[in-house]
Symmetry: C2
DNA sequence: CGTAACATTGACCCCTCTCAAGTGCCGTGG
DNA sequence: CCACGGCACTTGAGAGGGGTCAATGTTACG
C-alpha cells in the first residue's frame, strides 16, 4: 500500500490549531507532571503536520523507519496480515498516540499501521528521540510508560479474545475507546464519534463482519448503547462495564509520579 | 494467593551459579552491545536469589510493588482472572525475563504473575531503576526495548487468537518458546523442556484443556513434534513454522544498535 | 438515478466447548 | 511390595457460539 502525503494546506492548518501536540500532552499530563521545558522539547522534536488519506499506510510492514509518528487526528490501526488474506488489527490508535514509537528501538516493523480515516500526523526523527533519552530522563520515562500502557491494552485484548464472550469483548472495546478518547477531548458525556465500519471492528475483535453486526444489534436491544454510525452513545455505562468486566486501571489515567 | 519465600539455601546457590543474571544478559546482548560497566550495573542492582514454589504468586494482582522482579529460572505467567473463574494467561515468562519491569512506571499491578514451576527470582528496587534511567541512558534503552518486545509478543498472540486456527496458534507458541529458550541456553537442537500441564496451555491459548489435548495429538500425528511431557522435540521446524506462519522478526534477536 | 460501500438478515455448517468416563503414571503409606 | 489416591492425559458424545455464503436493505454521492 503506497503512502499518500498531502502538503499542509488550509485543512491541515486548521486541524493543527485545534489539537496539534496537545492530544499527546493531555495524555501524558494525566499520568504525571510535564514541565514547561519538557513540553517545549516535545513541540520542538515534532515535524510539520501531514495528511494521510484513509486506507493508506502510515507505516509500512517490513520497513525500517528512521522516524516515529504521532497521530494528531483521525483513527489508525496496527495490523498483521495472514497468508489466507485475513487481517488482525492488534491496536487501535487515536489522536495523541505515538503510533510507532517502538520502531525507534525495535527498528524493523513487523506489522503495518494503516489510516482508518483521514489522518493528520507529525513525525519525530529517531535521532531526536535518542537525544531525548540522553538528556531528558523523566520525559523518557513518560514515553516509556506510554508504550507500557500500549502493552497493558494488548493484554486486555488477549484476555478478551481468550476468555470473554464476543459480546463482552465488544463492550470492553467500547469502554476502553471511550476513556481513551475522553482523555484527548474527543469524547464527553458518554458519547463519541467512532467512524469505523463493522468490517474493521471485525478485524479488531477477531470475528466475522456478520457476527459483529449481530453483536451491535444485541447491545442496542439491551439498551446499553445507541449506535448510529458514526455516533456511539453509551446509555448505561455501569451495565456496559458490567458486561465487559471493565476495570480502567490498566489505562493508567491517574497521576503517579514516574 | 500468598507468597512463599524460602531463604537462599544450597539449591538456590546451585541455581545461581548456573544462570544468575546471565540469562537476562544473554538476551540483551543478542540485540546490542552491553558494556562491562552496564553489565556491572545490572549485577549491582539485583538483590539476592529467592525461591518461589510452584503455584504461588511472584507478584500479586492489585499490588503496588516497589521492586521489579527478574526470573532467574523456572516458568512464570502473567494472568488475568475473570468473574466466572476463567483464567487467561497473557504472557509466559522464562529465565532472563524481567517479569514486572513495567510495574516500575505503571505502579499498580492490574494482573498477577504466578510461578508455574518452582522459580528462582531476584528483585530490583524501583529506586535503583529510576537512578539507572538517570545515569545510564543506553542501558535504559535496552530495558525499554525488552518491554517493547513483550508488547510485540502480545501482538502476535492477538493475531493468533483472532485470525489463526487453534492448531496454528499452538504451533506458533512452540516456535516462539523454542527461540526464547534458545537465547538463554535452555533449548538446543530443536528440543526443550516445557513442563506445563495442558490445563495451563489451555489458559495460554484461550482454549479448553480437552481441545489442547486434541491439538497436541494432531501435532504428533502430523509428525512435526515429539511431545512426551515435559520434553518437546521439534521434528520438522519448517513445517511447524509453516503451520504457524511464524516469522521471528518480532522477537528482535538481531544486533541493531539502540 | 446509478453505483459503491456499508448494514442487515436468513440458512446452514463446523470448530471448539462441556460433560463425562476412563486410562496411565507416580508418590506414599500400610 | 502392593494398594491407593491424586493428578494429568485421553477419548467420546452431544451442544452451541460463531463462521460462511448469499441475498436484501440502506445511505451517500457523483
Amino acid at each position: 500500500m503506497s503512502r499518500t502525503v498531502v502538503q499542509p494546506g488550509p485543512q491541515v492548518a486548521e486541524l493543527r490549531s485545534e489539537v496539534s501536540v496537545d492530544a499527546l500532552y493531555d495524555k501524558l499530563v494525566r499520568r504525571d507532571d510535564v514541565s514547561a521545558q519538557e513540553k517545549a522539547v516535545l513541540r520542538d522534536v515534532l515535524g510539520p503536520s501531514t495528511l494521510v488519506a484513509a486506507g493508506n499506510d502510515l507505516v509500512r510492514e517490513g520497513g525500517w523507519p528512521d522516524v516515529s509518528t504521532v497521530l494528531v487526528s483521525g483513527f489508525a490501526a496496527r495490523y498483521t496480515t495472514l497468508a489466507d488474506g485475513g487481517r488482525q488489527i492488534t491496536e487501535l490508535n487515536v489522536a495523541g498516540d505515538f503510533v510507532d514509537l517502538h520502531s525507534f528501538l525495535i527498528r524493523e516493523m513487523d506489522h503495518g499501521v494503516v489510516a482508518l480515516t483521514n489522518c493528520v500526523i507529525r513525525t519525530v526523527p529517531h535521532r531526536a528521540l535518542r537525544h531525548l533519552t540522553e538528556a531528558f530522563p523523566h520525559l523518557t520515562r513518560l514515553l516509556w510508560l506510554d508504550t507500557l500502557v500500549d502493552a497493558a491494552i494488548h493484554r486486555q485484548w488477549i484476555a478478551s479474545m481468550g476468555r470473554r464472550t464476543a459480546l463482552a469483548h465488544l463492550a470492553h472495546l467500547l469502554c476502553e475507546t471511550y476513556l481513551r478518547l475522553e482523555v484527548v477531548g474527543l469524547a464527553a458525556e458518554r458519547a463519541f464519534d467512532f467512524p469505523l465500519p463493522q468490517s474493521v471492528l471485525a478485524d479488531v475483535l477477531g470475528l466475522s463482519t456478520v457476527h459483529v453486526n449481530r453483536l451491535v444489534a444485541e447491545l442496542r436491544s439491551l439498551e446499553v448503547v445507541n449506535w448510529t454510525q458514526p455516533r456511539v452513545v453509551i446509555l448505561d455505562w455501569d451495565r456496559l462495564a458490567g458486561i465487559a468486566e471493565f476495570d480502567p486501571t490498566y489505562l493508567r489515567l491517574t497521576r503517579q509520579p514516574v
